[in-house]
């Protein structure tokens, strides 16, 4: 596939790839950040519980 082949349909190909990359970046970050947030929350609550028990 040459640059000339791509140029004719660039207005459709690049937005499709851009959307796909954007989706993967967003869903990956959202999933990882959510997991990290709740893990930290559990760790915080568990350490609070341990402190209170002592």
């Amino acid at each position: 596939m040459t640059a000339a082949d791509l140029a004719k349909y660039a207005a459709f190909i690049w937005p499709a790839y851009g959307l796909t990359i954007g989706f993967f970046v967003w869903i990956t970050l959202a999933s990882l950040l959510s997991s990290r947030r709740w893990r930290r929350e559990v760790e915080r609550l568990q350490s609070e519980k341990t402190r209170e028990d002592q």
Binding site: I13, S31, S35, K49
Partner: protein, 244 residues
């Protein structure tokens, strides 16, 4: 009802957390590798004799469309297991799956539209395939909205699981819509009786991308189930702290 003995590990959140801690990054790394190879081979293909360079959109559109259906199968199976066996892990899996499936379905519709415009001359047509995929997206969104609208999480899970199972009726309609009706959308060219009609030069990158998408789905699903299990544990600990 109890799960068969061989599947009992699926119902143990601690066991799941231990396995998914190494399985999610492993599958994620595999996904990156497969997608890299898929794109590498994909951008080396010659332009299609009819579709020109827009054939490149096939490598991202078709796997997204497959995953939109695969995601719904995962949602329906998890919902079934959560309804019948009342397992919290199955319910968490269903909840974690819905936004992923909705994302892949929206991506399939958007990239399909960008492929349809230069090939069909239209961004959207109300043919059976496109319409049934839109209905699939609405089932995903309905599932997410229903879960969010009921405060009691157990009731929300059961109501949403029933909706997910009702929506499974749409899956054969999506798959066979191109055979049952006269559609502008092309028929199956990979999973069909008599084998694929796609030339190997296009089929190989397509299958690599499809495997990459599936691995990415698997890794993200595991991460999202883990997040949901952490959230539930945090809620339990908060309630315990409030009662002390």
């Amino acid at each position: 009802m109890r799960l068969p003995r061989q599947l009992e590990f699926l119902s143990l959140p601690d066991r799941f957390m231990a396995v998914s801690a190494w399985l999610a990054p492993t599958i994620g790394a595999l996904a990156v590798l497969l997608l890299e190879f898929g794109l590498w081979f994909g951008f080396k293909v010659p332009p299609d004799y009819q579709q020109g360079a827009t054939v490149l959109i096939m490598f991202i559109h078709v796997p997204a469309a497959w995953l939109s259906m695969f995601g719904y199968v995962c949602l329906a199976v998890s919902s079934f297991l959560s309804l019948v066996f009342r397992h919290a892990l199955a319910d968490a899996a269903a909840k974690a799956c819905a936004p992923l499936g909705a994302g892949f379905t929206a991506l399939a519709l958007a990239t399909g539209s960008l492929w349809g415009r230069p090939m069909w001359g239209a961004w959207w047509v109300w043919d059976a395939r496109l319409t049934s995929v839109l209905v699939l997206l609405l089932f995903y969104l309905g599932y997410i909205a229903l879960r969010a609208s009921i405060e009691d999480e157990n009731r929300a899970g059961r109501a949403a699981a029933i909706l997910a199972l009702v929506g499974a009726v749409n899956l054969p309609v999506v798959h066979w819509s191109v055979n049952w009706w006269n559609t502008l959308h092309q028929g199956s060219s990979v999973f069909r009786v008599g084998g694929p009609t796609l030339a190997a030069v296009y089929l190989i990158p397509l299958l690599l991308m499809a495997l990459g998408y599936t691995a990415a789905f698997g890794a993200l699903w595991l991460v999202r189930i883990r997040a949901e299990l952490w959230r539930r544990k945090a809620r339990t600990l908060s309630l315990q702290a409030a009662n002390r």
